[in-house]
């Protein structure tokens, strides 16, 4: 959930078939980390709220099947390595690797290990690199977690979502809540850091339900928690159910109250926020892969629908696993489109992304409009005054809930 893909791709420019990048990506490459995202587009069932690019086993066949997927992904790893080299980028070991989905652990652990092995073979790992996989509590065993740890994974992020059965039911989640402490313990035993993903604001979820989920999650003493508000995406089963009045509407005020409760309970348990929706027990336990997105580092996204970013060039792969497999089979880039950001757009993105971080945004790096807005943001209690006096914009609790509004106020006109 920290890292999943929407089913709708942006509109962009055509991407070249050889995957070559323009020379501008070389500027400042030395100061950017390099990461890898691996998208696993499979789920056992499709959840009612999910609009991610994912498919159940029965929806796919042939070269796009689960059995063949690891080989296809490995072929993109090789393609990526060639394209980066040919574009003149220096060799950089991987700083972070993240397997997201779908449900990565729906593939045999051996397959995940094989893809990771191919990537490490191409680029190597930085010392202390972070290697995460998302996992459904239902789709791991003590053995599979140990196998992942042995293959080099350092971290697992469990999609717990809620501890309350009727909430899980609305979300179509199949796991039984009692399984979570078990898999957390297995992961620990294997030496993996543990993150728990929670969703709040599910229709029918009471404030007491949410408190139960938070307290339950915290009782497992995770190293990291992500808490995301449920977003009802067009075209999902949940959206249809709400439209038909079968489940209640989403309420932003309810979301706000639940976020406040989450921040309170998670902080009291000793974790600090480092991004609007993420808390970690220590700065070192923050998800570095996630931070790389917010900080504008480079990463290559492997898999159908995966997004990549290298030095101001963003691209995204074709969505369907079959089309994706075909492209790679023909030896051409699986990219569906890309965009090359100009300086102004990069600046907008930087502000938009860094504003969400606990480390905040440097005031001096804003333009005149942005700097003029700061006093108003302090007056409206949206940013921490003390940090602002030190030259950094750091969102208050209220500011985090209104982060997009804050960004609109500090963006260049």
């Amino acid at each position: 959930m920290e890292d999943t893909l929407p089913s709708v791709l942006p509109l962009g420019d055509p991407a070249p078939v050889d995957g070559l990048l323009p020379p501008q990506v070389l500027d400042g490459v030395g100061s950017r980390k390099f990461g890898l995202y691996v998208h696993i587009p499979f789920c056992a069932v499709r959840c009612g709220y999910c609009d991610f690019n994912t498919y159940t086993a029965t929806e796919l066949g042939g070269g796009a099947s689960q059995a063949a997927y690891a080989s296809t992904a490995v072929s993109e790893v090789e393609f990526a390595s060639r394209a980066l080299n040919a574009s003149g980028l220096p060799h950089r070991p991987l700083s972070t690797v993240f397997f997201g989905g779908g449900t990565p652990t729906l593939l045999p652990a051996e397959d995940l290990a094989r893809i990771l092995g191919a990537a490490v073979g191409q680029w190597g790992l930085e010392p202390g690199a972070e290697v995460t996989t998302e996992a459904n509590p239902d789709s791991v065993t003590r053995e599979s977690l140990q196998l992942l740890a042995d293959a080099g994974f350092t971290r697992v992020s469990f999609g717990m979502q809620s501890a309350v059965p009727h909430v899980l039911k609305v979300l179509d989640r199949t796991h039984t809540p009692s399984r979570v402490p078990l898999v957390v313990q297995w992961a620990r035993d294997a030496g993996l850091a543990v993150s728990l993903d929670l969703i709040y604001g599910t229709p029918g979820e009471s404030m007491a339900d949410w408190r139960t989920s938070l307290e339950t999650a915290l009782s497992y003493e995770p190293d990291h928690i992500s808490a995301y508000a449920l977003i009802v995406e067009d075209g999902t089963k949940l959206a249809a159910q709400i439209r038909r009045g079968e489940v209640p509407q989403i309420d932003d005020d309810d979301h706000a109250a639940k976020y406040e409760l989450a921040d309170q309970l998670i902080s009291e348990a000793g974790l600090d926020w480092y991004e609007v929706s993420n808390w970690s027990r220590s700065p070192e336990q923050a998800c570095r892969h996630n931070l790389a997105y917010w900080r504008g580092d480079d990463w290559w996204g492997i898999g159908p629908g995966a997004h990549s970013h290298v030095g101001g060039v963003r691209w995204w792969n074709v969505k369907h696993p079959a089309a994706y497999a075909n492209r790679l089979g023909e030896g051409v880039s699986p990219a569906a489109g890309r965009e090359t950001l100009d300086a102004g757009t990069r600046e907008v993105e930087r502000i938009m992304l860094e504003a969400r971080l606990g480390s905040g945004l440097e005031v001096d790096a804003l333009d005149k409009v942005g700097r003029h807005a700061v006093a108003g943001l302090i007056a409206d209690a949206l940013v921490e005054p003390a940090a602002a006096f030190q030259g950094r914009l750091v969102l208050t609790l209220k500011g985090r809930l209104l982060a997009d509004a804050v960004v609109r106020r500090i963006l260049p006109d």
Binding site: M1, L5, Y228, G301, E339, L353, R400, D404, R408
Partner: protein, 617 residues
Amino acid sequence: MSPMARTAPVPAATDPAIIRNFCIIAHIDHGKSTLADRMLQFTGVVKPRDMKAQYLDRMDIERERGITIKSQAVRMPWELDGTSYALNMIDTPGHVDFTYEVSRSLAACEGAILLVDAAQGIEAQTLANLYLAMENNLTIIPVLNKIDLPAAQPEKYAAELANLIGGDPEDVLRVSGKTGVGVEELLDKIVRDLPAPVGDANAPARAMIFDSVYDTYRGVVTYVRVVDGMLHPRERIQMMSTKATHELLEIGVSSPEPTPSKGLGVGEVGYLITGVKDVRQSKVGDTVTNQAKPAAKSLSGYADAKPMVFSGLYPLDGTDYPVLRDALEKLMLNDAALIYEPETSAALGFGFRVGFLGLLHLEITRERLEREYNLDLISTAPNVEYEVTLEDKKVVHVTNPSEYPVGKVAEVREPMVSATILAPNEFVGAIMELCQSRRGVMGGMDYLSEDRVEIRYRLPLAEIVFDFFDILKSKTRGYGSLDWKADGEQVADLVKVDIMLQGEQVDAFSAITHREKAYAYGVMMTTKLRELIPRQQFEVPIQAAIGSRIIARESIRAIRKDVLAKCYGGDITRKRKLLEKQKEGKKRMKMVGRVEVPQEAFIAALTTDESKDKAKK
């Protein structure tokens, strides 16, 4: 039954004795245009294959709404008992907003067909126009139309008409414009019953302008009725009110396409083209004479058009202001009643305060601006003109509430109207209740027939310009009809209600109301705005105030959440595009102090629920 005329009388050489000038007085949708079409067809001036439904209504909007705005005159030949006659049918506007134009059209005729829907009976506006016709000593031919309808009650309404104008119900003709039944008899009756025009052929020329229309290719086309003397092509003519002179480039008759002639003589009706570009140079009611041999005295009845209702028109997109200015300039060429001046609103930006004859005139003008000039407009709530006397005796005329003087007001006078409402008698109570609630004073009530009444009220114009007619219609299940005319003014206890967002006054929402209604307006507007304005990052109080006294308040709770919880799988592009869209949206917001108000909120707040319903249909 008469045949189509074998030979048509020639313009400029037609004996007044064989001329018949008439108009049709009818309510909207009682079938005037259809009947006129049928006459064009039966007299042979329009061939069946050229027949376009409602030939005489030129503008699309008119055709859509079934309303004739601009009149036109058509010359038709008709033969009776071996003599060919020239019939001039002068089409008149049917709506109360255009009473003055109606009166000039009537003055060009000797007779009028009183056309009434046999299923609905006479309506208030028709009655009003009938009075005007009788004041002009016109001979009236009562006709019931739509007798083909199953719901027609010709006996009942024939009795009603006979009762109104005197005479025998048997004399009321029964026709169907749709099927053509009775139309030939009607044409015969026009020849037999209507008097021929009378005038002095040897006197200096005098012709009355009853309409003038701007044509993109030809400039202003002026429609006249010659009373005395004769007008010829190429001679210089003079407008008697302004003394302006023009060369007569072309003169002719419509049959129904313009056909140049060698002139127009006594009793004839036709058009003039002088090359002028602005209808203000050819004013309805003015007298045209010959410059070389001018008449000593102009024809009576001329009056300047007087706007009664004012509204601010603003382009939704501020950059469209020059387009709106040009569009108003062009519309003015064809609409002598339209006046406007630039105006600035803190909330709405640059626009114009525009004066109209009435609400329909406003709606039609706005619709034309939007349709023909591709503009999106906001119009402020319609206003009347108040005369405010200050304690220092200074007098201010206020057509925009935001101009209401802040100083000590000694007296406020508001324009009054006398209104006539016709409806089935079962609705009398509801109508009286409505008029009473609008500060009306009853003038009287008469039974037109067993079950239909005419109710007369004197009302402040301000009380009927907004939603009165819509409410009247709904309270009388569509049967009620209204006519009004200006009727002086009265001193009234009026106050200005201001609306404030976070303490900032929003000029576009200020209103001048009777003191007793100020509270209702305040509550209505604050409630509406609370629903329309999106939540902001802070609480927004909405207040209604008279001066410094708050009379109603609401508040918009602060928004608590405005953040996307996550950024999907590194799809920064999607998030950035969303942000850019939001930022664009912010640009389209109007700032009232610190409060962002979407354009849509202004439009919705200034729209009545009734007109919103109309838009939906």
